[in-house]
């Protein structure tokens, strides 16, 4: 059992390395157009709003993590262009969790963006889509998942803070 946990840990570490976590050009401190402060490092992110500070780890997007409703910054290479990374910052609201017909779903705050893994020059600005009413939907029989949000989400522009 202990060996299996170590194996899982090693696979997770390998997957994180393969995803490259947050690309270097995107790391740094930003101020959002909505007043929030965003700090991105290679493996962690911190979002500071007027009322709270949210710390999240960067992790590969996986059915198991989503099914447990673990908050985090989920990263996966885009299926049609592996130079791009789909970034989902999720804060699940597990009190909304439901299941029926083989499906499990819950509401979640979602920040989404598409990062260029080959970006070399540090970006002055990054844009994220934000929705308070995003949905994480899991199809248990097939082990597939989908994350989305209703129409007209907020677009938040984060401007890099100078030292």
């Amino acid at each position: 059992m202990k060996n299996i946990k170590w194996l899982q840990f090693a696979l997770l570490a390998l997957a994180l390395g393969a995803c490259g976590a947050i690309p270097g050009a995107y790391r740094g401190n930003y101020q959002g157009s909505n007043g929030t402060i965003l700090k991105l490092s290679g493996t962690k992110g911190r979002l500071t709003t007027k009322s709270e500070i949210i710390n999240s780890k960067v992790r590969p997007l996986a059915f198991e993590a989503l099914s447990l409703g673990e908050p985090g910054i989920y990263v996966q290479p885009n299926p049609v262009n592996n130079k791009l990374l789909d970034i989902f910052w999720l804060r699940p609201k597990m009190n909304t969790r439901q299941e029926a017909g083989g499906m499990v779903w819950y509401t979640s705050e979602v920040y989404y963006s598409l990062f260029d893994a080959n970006q070399k020059i540090k970006l002055d600005k990054i844009q994220l889509v934000y929705s308070d009413e995003g949905t994480v939907m899991l199809d248990v029989p097939t082990g597939t998942w989908q994350v989305g949000w209703p129409a007209s989400p907020r677009n938040v522009t984060f401007t890099r803070l100078k030292k």
């Binding site: 083989g102 199809d139 949000w149 129409a151």
Partner: protein
């Protein structure tokens, strides 16, 4: 005011007194102190220069000589080695070359003489023999020509050429006269007789109408079938160098900072100057001294080397050069005498041995040619007169015979075929609008002439119409006899004869028919009738159709009147397609009355139900008159581009049956982005059922579902669980896809 003046005066006096006692000496001190500092600076700078320059010179002295010697030696040695090596190599080469020349000359001369003699003799022999043969041939031909020709002419004079020529002339003249009379006079006889008949008076004009004139009739048919240079050191031994300040010793100290700085700066500058001037001088001396030593040593080293390769190369090149020259000279001197001697002997031998043979051969050639020429001349001298004499004698006889025969034959033909079809046969319409329409009854109008002096029975005159190509014409009356007798010496116009219809597949194509007339089974005239079939209206796409899956899209159709009459009210345009692929909102549209060449564009709306990018869609369009007659038709299947940004398909294999079976149905959809996006947008998918009034189908879970943005060519699968409450119910399940709220696709699944 006065009190103030006094006060001011008093104050001024106090200030002036104070200045006289205290202020003035202070100002003088300040001025005196500034001059002192400047002087101190000047002195410090002078001292700095005095101290710095000898120290710098000392370093220059130490380093310049050593570094100059080292550089001069190395450069001198390099240059010396290169120069002397070059000289030694050239000397070795020259020595070798001279040796090579000596042996090359000797060998070349010997070999040249040997081969010149040998090859001269061989070539002389071969070319001499050829020359002898040519001379023998030329002489023999010249010597034999005259005797041979004379003998040939004599033999011809003794032949039967004159008699044979006359006999042949007489024979051929008779044959040609008969043939010419047949070629000219026989047809003249027939032609003149016929012209006489055609010039006869026409006593009667008559008409025959074989059918009632046409009225509008409906066409039949089914619509919906189918891109460094090496730096020379010569004369310049200067090398740029910087002091390393090994003897730097700015040894004086000053209390005042500015003074100390001035000293230090002057010292350093003077050190550098002292270094540079001394270094250059010493470097130069050392360089020159050592350069010569190095040069001598380099040269000495070069001269000790072995240059046998260069000597051998010189020897080889000298040998080859001398050999070639000597060889060619000796060869030429030996070749010519050997060649001349051999040539002369061989030529004479060949001449003698070949002359007689050539003589005999050319004698016979000359004889035969002279014989033929003389014989032909004698033959022709009697042939031509005899031919002309016979031709002139016989032609009139044959001419009359042939002319009379032609007249008789033509008279007999008119007797047997007394009626003839005249020019001007045409196809006529039964719907008089200037067009031969598909389905319209078409007939033939023509004229016949009766040359007989008596009336002829109409039943003996037969008309026949056959198709001359592979058109789809239907000939409903292809053969008929005239219904009444044909009056004597008459011209009869026959209308509405025969009957045929063109099919709809012949629209806008040409078709040909053979129209033949017979009298008592004998052909009395024929005509190839060609017509082009057209609908009264032309239907075409005003814009190439483009559709969006699940979305109502406009389709523009243009109808134009291409007939010679106005299209009345009540006309309609109907568009149909396969309803499983294309749903047309309103199939039949009213048409405005269209004047001649008038045009109208009608707009349809349709929804395509297809997952492909360019599905092939059947389209059928017809224009009907108020009475229901079809006057325009398009029946085509075309690839139509589908312009949705996303494609949706159901990937579950048994979706329809699952939706008709009570229980849980899990439908998997696949959505694919087929268009590029400047800004990716999230997707919302909503399911709804049509024809589901009693709630037989319920969506389980969130409806709508959401998906993160898809990049171009990216697809995503998602599952929609449906609770089928009532089994066996049919209906339509629609998936509406929104891109950030904007409807982009409606996918329909019928079950």
């Amino acid at each position: 005011m006065k009190r103030h003046s006094k006060c001011e005066q008093l104050l001024l006096a106090v200030i002036v007194s104070a200045q006289l006692v205290v202020g003035a000496p202070q100002f003088v001190w300040a001025q005196s102190s500034g001059d002192d500092i400047n002087e101190q600076i000047r002195r410090a700078e002078s001292d700095g220069r005095s101290d710095g320059r000898p120290d710098g010179s000392r370093e220059g002295n130490d380093r310049g000589l050593d570094e100059g010697r080292a550089d001069g030696y190395h450069e001198g040695r390099r240059i010396g080695f290169e120069t002397c090596e070059r000289e030694e190599r050239q000397r070795a080469y020259d020595d070798g070359y001279r040796e090579g020349v000596d042996s090359g000359q000797s060998d070349g001369d010997r070999e040249g003489r040997r081969r010149g003699d040998s090859e001269g003799r061989a070539n002389g022999l071969a070319e001499g023999e050829s020359d002898g043969i040519d001379r023998a041939r030329t002489a023999a031909r010249r010597d034999s020509f005259e005797p041979g020709s004379a003998q040939g002419r004599r033999e011809a004079d003794a032949s039967d050429a004159l008699a044979a020529g006359r006999a042949a002339g007489l024979h051929q003249g008779d044959i040609d006269a008969a043939a010419e009379a047949l070629r000219v006079e026989y047809p003249r006889g027939r032609k003149e007789y016929a012209e006489g008949r055609w010039a006869e008076r026409v006593d009667n004009q008559d008409t025959m109408q074989l059918h009632e004139p046409g009225t509008d009739t409906s066409s039949a048919g089914n619509v919906f079938s189918n891109v460094m240079r090496r730096q020379g050191i010569v004369g310049n031994f200067f090398r740029s160098a910087s002091p390393d300040y090994r003897y730097s010793n700015p040894r004086r100290s000053y209390n005042e900072g500015r003074v100390q700085n001035a000293y230090n700066s002057a010292y350093r500058s003077a050190y550098q100057d002292g270094f540079s001037s001394t270094y250059s001088y010493e470097y130069n001396n050392g360089y020159r001294y050592s350069y010569d030593n190095g040069h001598n040593e380099g040269c000495y080293d070069a001269r000790r080397r072995n240059y046998s390769n260069d000597e051998e190369r010189g020897r080889r090149e000298g040998y080859q050069s001398a050999y070639d020259t000597s060889y060619r000279y000796a060869y030429d001197r030996a070749y010519r005498p050997a060649y001349d001697t051999a040539f002369r002997d061989a030529s004479d031998r060949a001449y003698r041995s070949h002359y007689d043979g050539f003589y005999t051969r050319y004698f016979e050639e000359a004889r035969a040619a002279a014989y033929t020429e003389r014989y032909n001349a004698l033959f022709q001298s009697t042939y031509r007169p005899a031919y002309a004499e016979k031709y002139a004698q016989m032609y009139p006889v044959y001419a009359k015979q042939q002319y009379d025969r032609g007249v008789a034959d033509e008279a007999e033909d008119f007797r047997l075929r007394p009626i003839r079809l005249l020019e001007g046969s045409v196809v006529t319409e039964t719907i008089h609008n200037g067009l031969y329409e598909p389905g319209e009854a078409l007939r033939v109008k023509f004229k016949i002439r009766n040359f007989a002096a008596t009336a002829l029975s109409g039943s003996d005159a037969r008309l026949k119409l056959t198709s001359a190509d592979s058109s789809g014409a239907v000939i409903s009356e292809g053969e008929v006899t005239l219904p009444k007798s044909i009056q004597p010496r008459s011209i009869t116009e026959v209308t509405e004869a025969l009957e045929f219809r063109m099919s709809e597949k012949d629209a806008d194509k040409a078709a040909s028919f053979n129209f033949n007339t017979f009298y008592q089974g004998r052909a009395v005239g024929s005509k190839l009738l060609t017509i082009t079939t057209k609908f009264m209206t032309r239907i075409r796409w005003a814009e190439d159709p483009k559709l969006q899956e699940g979305m109502l899209s406009p389709l523009f159709v243009m109808v134009s009147n291409q007939s010679q009459v106005k299209l009345g009210t009540g006309g309609t345009l109907t568009m149909r397609s396969d309803p499983k692929i294309l749903e047309i909102e309103k199939e039949t549209m009213p048409l405005s009355p269209l004047s001649v060449n008038g045009t109208e564009i009608l707009q349809y709306h349709a929804i395509v139900r297809s997952a492909g990018a360019n599905p092939r869609i059947p389209f059928g369009m017809e224009v009907l008159t108020a009475k229901g007659r079809r006057i325009g038709l398009i029946d085509e299947t075309r690839a139509v581009p589908i312009l949705n940004d996303y494609r949706v398909q159901v990937v579950s294999s048994n979706a329809e049956s699952a939706l008709r079976t009570k229980g849980l149905a899990r439908l998997t959809y696949r959505i694919r982005n087929v268009s590029s996006r400047a800004f990716a947008k999230g997707l919302q998918m909503k399911i709804r059922f049509k024809n589901n009034p009693d709630g037989s189908h319920l969506v389980i879970g969130p409806n709508p579902q959401y998906l993160a943005p898809l990049q171009k060519d990216q697809s995503a699968d998602f599952v929609v669980p449906i609770s089928v409450v009532k089994g066996g119910a049919s209906g339509i399940m629609e998936l509406e896809v929104f891109e950030d709220g904007k409807l982009v696709v409606i996918h329909q699944l019928k079950f």
